[in-house]
């Protein structure tokens, strides 16, 4: 009896520890095999956007360059004033010492990435080295291993941050491709999307934003956005959606990984397309309805389901994953979940996220198609 009590007590304790490990936020790893994406055709805005993505992502710059005091908080500082001060510092004897202008700053930034100890800002050196040795890793070496194009992109981003016209060269076809961790698991990279409509269809933007007549209102309408924001602002809103939240909308709703999943040129094409949108949705002829979707895939495209749900590898996580849903729900339950999405909310998700007007928008035949498709969708 004692034995069973002791074992029971210990097992309950273990389960409690295990339970806590599940209660805490889970950082879901990217298990895909990295693929390389060509940066050929990227313009300077794209380089700046790419640079920001690398600065906050692969480059791991913000691990130290933040407000915690480990390294200068570059994103918050007045870099327009700081760069000239650094070049004029008598302690600085590097490649850009005594020089001025954007090109000198480019040289300075690149030098600081490749040889961080060439100049250490006072107070930020390794302990006991009297600011002669930097704790910063060399970014083109392991473990960060930025390519020349990636370092140029970061430089362009920092130059832009300082209000300068970037001076770095644009990438060419011969340049080393940029490593992109958003691969699909080892196959060939997905084909490059070259039109705004295709990109919006692929990434399901219309599921949340009023686009192509979707009328969705989870995110702000994108019509007329060119008058409300500049191009850089639109790019920032795509790759860092929580940086600025439009009035009346919530943070953390829009996926924050478009900076990684969109190719450089796709990002620019999308931004240009959005900038060119009219102020209001184009008028539709009364009585003329959108053509009926005749296959389940057309239904998914038309209503942008993959924009929020992980569906056949879309990896979106605003709504629950739909692969394998046929094993978890009956056809009637799926139908109800589409027509009245707030009736039952899956664990870990929130109410009022899915549009509740599919009953008006979706034809019965379309509903049947999508329900049948989902019922048979494998894990």
């Amino acid at each position: 009896m004692n034995f069973l009590r002791v074992i029971g007590f210990s097992v309950v304790m273990l389960l409690a520890f295990m339970g806590i490990s599940h209660l805490l936020p889970q950082v879901v790893p990217d298990t895909s095999e990295p693929v390389e994406v060509s940066t050929d055709g990227l313009d300077m805005d794209g380089m700046i956007a790419l640079g920001e993505t690398i600065y906050k992502g692969k480059g791991t710059c913000t691990l130290c360059h933040n407000g915690m005091g480990r390294a200068p908080d570059t994103l918050e500082m007045d870099m327009a004033a700081t760069f000239p001060e650094r070049l004029a510092d008598p302690r600085y004897t590097g490649v850009a010492a005594g020089k001025e202008g954007a090109k000198a700053i480019e040289d300075y930034i690149l030098e600081s990435m490749k040889d961080p100890s060439a100049y250490v800002v006072a107070g930020f050196g390794k302990k006991g080295t009297n600011d002669t040795e930097s704790p910063m890793p060399v970014v083109d070496k392991a473990p960060i291993e930025l390519s020349a194009v990636e370092m140029n992109a970061v430089t362009a981003f920092l130059q832009d941050l300082a209000g300068l016209e970037p001076t770095v060269p644009l990438p060419s076809a011969e340049d080393t491709p940029v490593s992109d961790d958003s691969g699909d698991g080892g196959g060939e990279p997905a084909p490059l999307l070259t039109s705004g409509e295709n990109i919006i269809g692929e990434y399901g933007c219309a599921a949340c934003h009023d686009l192509n007549g979707s009328g969705a209102d989870i995110g702000p309408s994108l019509y007329g956005i060119g008058k409300r924001m500049d191009r850089a602002g639109v790019i920032e809103s795509i790759i860092a959606p929580n940086a600025v939240i439009a009035d009346g909308f919530d943070a953390d709703v829009m996926p924050a990984d478009f900076g990684e999943s969109l190719r450089g040129s796709e990002l620019l094409v999308l931004a240009d397309y959005l900038m060119s949108l009219p102020d209001t949705p184009p008028a539709t002829d009364d009585g003329e309805e959108e053509p009926l979707a005749t296959t389940a895939l057309e239904v998914i495209d038309k209503f942008g389901c993959a924009g929020c749900h992980d569906l056949d590898g879309s990896e979106a996580d605003v709504g629950p994953k739909l692969n394998g849903i046929g094993k978890r729900m009956s056809a009637d339950q799926i139908k109800t979940a589409i027509l009245n999405p707030n009736d039952t909310i899956a664990d870990g998700f929130e109410a009022d996220m899915m549009p509740d007007d599919f009953a008006d928008q979706m034809d019965d035949s379309e509903l049947s198609l999508i329900v049948d498709y989902l019922m048979n969708l494998p894990e």
């Binding site: 295990m18 890793p137 929130e350």
Partner: protein, 585 residues
């Protein structure tokens, strides 16, 4: 620094027995100047649907649990044996022998699981193993030879116990024990060299080509911090497991004399566990500081990056251990008649320990929905948020350690009446030590709030110094204050059954904690087999989520518990005699 040199000297001494290990790389340059292998995803063997990483993870962690136990027990067995010689109390000697009896059954299982680990590494990570052999060369053979020597000394030490128990022979026996522990620690240091090399490689160039000696690779930046951390953790762990054994025997025994013996054994084991545990956070601090010094990026990944949430679980586990250890000590006050006089302080200690526990597990960033974030105006709570940062946590953990020590001190004092003339003033000095020390800990904590992040770390040093000063200072004063004191009767066995469950909390929480720390230490390398030198390109090169890691750690801990139950059962089986056998003889 001195400690680091001592450890290095010790290891250098041992390695002198293997002359080829000290060969300069130049002698072998032609053979080894080739970079680390770069296996592609397809180069990692796929065997059915088996997760190679989980197999290696489980085998490595299980081997570590068992090895920590079988290395630690001989350490405090010889210390206990020495106590028996010094005090002349034979109970210590019997208990040391009983400690070793438990170890014997675990020893062969440790070797078995170690063999399983080696095989699984060779099967699932052949390129990594090939590279590690290239770096450490003959040291791996030395490891195998030392393992043989460890086996011989262990068996001789245990089986010669009664033959070498009295007089001068006892010193021979203890010499064998010393040799056993020397070999055991050397084994651990060598294994630590391999693990720490994977985190902070040395003796190789940036391509991984071997350019230095084995000694250079061994003495990599994180080797000594890891040695110290594991040495202390092993002692705490071994004590906790033997304590669990003693608690079970206490519950199972009906004979009051045996019950008293196991109560005493439980108390001593708990004492050893806490003795190893108290300096552990400081050793952990040194390890973390060295990680930051080696690679700031690696340090931030651990403390402020994707693994930061893990430290909330660590806080829960260590808090659980502290609460359980204190509860057991408070319960122990009922063993003496004067215990009631000290029991009145328990409620104050409990408030500090529970308060410290709550502060320690308060996260800086809260887990909230988007709406809650909007309502709160951010992810940090205005009042509780400040409790989530390091100054609050350092203050909490130091106060918890001080209070745990105080609980020990109360029990010890309840069993003795001082007779020296200055007993009262001595007590006043001890009280003053506590007051000044605690004030210093709290003040340094407050200073941490008003200074930049970089100096916050520095603010923890005076806190650690204050804690150690309180502990060492009051031990020294009590040693003199209680010299020639009148001992009070201690009624061993006068404990509640409930109190024994606290002794089960310790090994379970320790085991899970060690598993968790193994997960974080390994995750710090991110997607590198050998950090910055050899990339892990396997399909499982990512850091698993906390929940997934929790599942694996729980499964391994359950497996380890099953093994321990078997080990304890085996150790009891040797004493069981078939009914009627003696009569027949």
């Amino acid at each position: 620094m001195k400690l680091s040199r001592l450890l290095a000297l010790f290891a250098a001494f041992v390695l002198l027995f293997a002359p080829e290990l000290a060969l300069a790389a130049a002698d072998q340059a032609a053979a080894v100047l080739e970079g680390a292998p770069k296996p592609s995803r397809l180069d990692y063997p796929m065997i059915g649907g088996v997760s190679g990483r989980t197999v290696v993870w489980s085998a490595a962690q299980m081997h570590l649990f068992l090895a920590a136990f079988v290395l630690a027990v001989p350490l405090f067995a010889i210390a206990t044996e020495f106590m028996s010689v010094v005090t002349g109390d034979d109970r210590y000697d019997s208990m040391a022998r009983e400690f070793m009896k438990i170890t014997m059954a675990a020893y062969s299982l440790t070797a078995l699981v170690g063999g399983g680990l080696l095989l699984s590494l060779l099967v699932f990570y052949p390129h990594l193993m090939g590279y590690m052999v290239k770096v450490f060369r003959g040291q791996m053979l030395i490891y195998a030879m030392l393992f043989g020597l460890e086996s011989i000394t262990l068996y001789v030490y245990f089986y010669s116990w009664d033959a070498l128990r009295r007089g001068n022979r006892k010193w021979y026996h203890m010499s064998i024990g010393l040799l056993l522990n020397t070999v055991g620690l050397t084994l651990m240091f060598i294994a630590n060299a391999w693990v720490s090399f994977m985190m902070s490689p040395a003796g190789v160039d940036p391509t991984g080509a071997v350019t230095g000696t084995v000694w250079e690779a061994t003495r990599n930046p994180l080797w000594n911090p890891l040695n110290l951390h594991r040495f202390l953790a092993n002692i705490a762990y071994g004590g906790a497991i033997v304590g669990g054994y003693a608690a079970y025997m206490f519950l199972a025994e009906k004979d009051p004399e045996k019950k008293a013996h196991y109560d005493w054994m439980g108390y001593t084991s708990n004492f050893i566990a806490i003795l190893g545990f108290i300096p552990l956070p400081f050793a952990g601090y040194w390890l973390m500081a060295e990680i930051y010094a080696y690679s700031q990026q690696m340090g931030i990944t651990a403390m402020g990056g994707i693994l930061a949430w893990l430290f909330i679980i660590q806080a829960v586990l260590i808090g659980t251990i502290m609460l359980a250890a204190n509860y057991y000590l408070w319960s122990g006050l009922m063993r003496t008649d004067r215990g009631a006089e000290y029991a009145k302080y328990v409620k104050y200690i409990a408030v500090v320990v529970v308060g410290g526990f709550l502060v320690w597990l308060t996260p800086h960033t809260l887990i909230l929905t988007a709406n809650e974030i909007q309502n709160l105006g951010g992810t940090h709570h205005k009042i509780l948020g400040p409790l989530g940062i390091m100054p609050a946590k350092n203050t909490a953990v130091n106060l918890m350690l001080v209070m745990t020590f105080l609980s020990f001190q109360l029990f010890y004092r309840s069993s003795r009446i001082p007779t020296v003339s200055w007993a009262k003033s001595g007590n006043m000095i001890v009280v003053a030590l506590y007051v000044v020390g605690i004030t210093n800990i709290v003040s340094a904590g407050i200073y941490g709030y008003i200074t930049p992040t970089v100096y916050k770390v520095g603010a923890s040093v005076p806190q650690v110094v204050s804690t150690l000063t309180i502990i060492i200072g009051s031990v020294l004063i009590d040693v003199f204050r209680l010299r020639g004191s009148k001992p009070e009767k201690v009624y061993w066995g006068r404990m509640t059954n409930r109190s024994q469950y606290a002794l089960f909390v310790l090994p379970v929480a320790f085991t899970w904690l060690m598993g968790l720390m193994g997960y974080i230490r390994s995750s710090l390398r991110t997607n590198w087999h050998v950090y910055t030198i050899m990339k892990d390109n396997s399909p499982e090169n990512y850091i698993p989520t906390l929940g997934d890691a929790g599942n694996v750690i729980t499964a391994i801990t359950l497996g380890f518990m099953a093994i321990m139950v078997f080990v304890f059962w085996l150790s009891r089986l040797g004493q069981t005699k078939q009914k009627g056998t003696e009569d027949a003889a």
